[in-house]
């Protein structure tokens, strides 16, 4: 789960995280008391419908603005460690 979350924990941290997650998840088992066999899942509080906008181009960030907060950049690109 930690790797999936892209997180790493020290041994003590990991124990604390496990213990708290266990007690939280155990508590949540109380949801099993509710019969939901015929209930639809509710993802959003307001009615869902597709929102489309007209396909009209509009101005966005310039290359410079997009890179303003980049931790590392080079020649107008984000720079990251070697991938392959």
């Amino acid at each position: 789960m930690a790797l999936l979350s892209r997180l790493a924990f020290g041994p003590e941290e990991l124990e604390e995280m496990k213990a708290s997650m266990n007690s939280i998840l155990t508590y949540m088992d109380e949801l099993n008391q509710y019969d939901t066999e015929k209930v639809e899942p509710m993802v959003h509080a307001v009615e869902q419908y597709n929102v489309m906008r007209d396909d009209v181009p509009h101005t966005s960030f310039t290359n410079e603005e997009a890179l303003l907060n980049a931790p590392e950049k080079e020649n107008g690109y984000f720079k990251v460690p070697k991938i392959i």
């Binding site: 789960m1 892209r6 949801l31 509710y34 639809e40 959003h44 509080a45």
Partner: protein, 486 residues
Amino acid sequence: MNQMTIHDLHEKLLAKELSAVELTKTFIAHRDAAEGEIHAYLSTSDEAALAKAAAVDAKIAAGEPVSDMAGIPGAIKDNICIKGETCTAASRMLEHWVAPYNATVIEKLEAADYVSLGKTNLDEFAMGSSTENSYFGPSRNPWNTECVPGGSSGGSAAAVAANEAVWALGSDTGGSIRQPASFCGLVGLKPTYGLVSRYGLLAFASSLDQIGPIVKDVTDAAIVLNAIAGHDPRDSTSIPMEKKDYKEALKTDVKGLRIGVPDEFFGPGIKEETKEAVKSALAFYEKEGAEIVPVSIPHIKSGVSVYYIIAPAEASSNLARYDGVGFGFRMPGEDIVDMYIKTRSAGFGKEVKRRIMLGNYVLSAGYYDAYYLKALKVRHLLKDDFDRAFAQCDVIAAPSASGAAFRFGAFSDPLSLYMEDICTVPVNLVGAPSISIPVGFHDGMPLGMQLIGPALGEERILNAAYAFEQAHPELTRTAPKGEMEA
């Protein structure tokens, strides 16, 4: 100068009894004097504030019309983007991140000639109810600095209660406006999901987040809501609707108003003093000709479980973007995955990590049905409960929190702190609007009551809140740390 509300100060500005620049300078000075003790702010923007105040003075001098909020100094929670200013979410991950654009609410406030004295503290990424999860240290409650101001919008509430700002914006995902407002003796409004644009609000749980005001009275809540509400094409969950004037709802007449009281909101977890305060408010309403209707919302008690599955699930997805690539903090690594892991492990605090882990757990293939899907279904049952209740009543009254503000470090394990959110999280899950108003005091600390409405029922809850507030001026008090020289 103590009960300084937006509407009072607006009158004074129009009558030229004081200028916006004088007012802004007064608040800057008071903020700087109080900050050592309160720590409500993470950054300040005095130069821009004074320039905007001067522009408002020029408009008034020229006889031009100005908005209700023009020139009145406020503060903005530091998870709402203001172009060119840092927006940290109280996280190391965004400590130096400068927002490249304005949130829609900021654009709307710009149009209303707003003045902001700075960005306020919060629990990291709005996850928490005390500001103890802020990477930059907690804010303190202006009523008693040994107590938390609440959270996550604790900096916003502390700023207003300490008179370090006249008004503030907060955000509410599971109570983060209402609970701190309650702890600090203020009014906090969480609008209907979709009434206020979330564009430019750093996403925590996208199906629950809403921006709203933390202010000194109900009139100010209506004024700020007037400024920030409205459809926004940049937020696909924003509700298309006509603009309203919420000030028109400020009436003291509650005759015939049906106030629903669900037993489930008054369970054993709620302190006696809170129950008594809310019940005496109900007695007031009854005396004024409102009808008290017992209603039932049986799934209230599932609220904490449902919320702490859905909110972390959405957060784990939303926070995946903090990977050290495009913006924010980066910790170098051997390869890209190592860089991600080191960046996120050092950049996020403990509670944020816990929620990311929980979220990924409940969304993982083996547990999706048992936790996430189950929570979405029980959420539906909860919504049905609320719908049934609102068929019998116009507003629902409930406590805003189990009691008054707690002391720092009072909750050592996360689950017991999560349980404290029982009064507020159900409201976010169903998307309803809710206002928290001061309802009493216990040992000198404020207690709050929520008035919850059906979707887009802001006018009803403002009406009910205003009626109670106008009849109880003694509850609108200045915190000891908010006292100002005239």
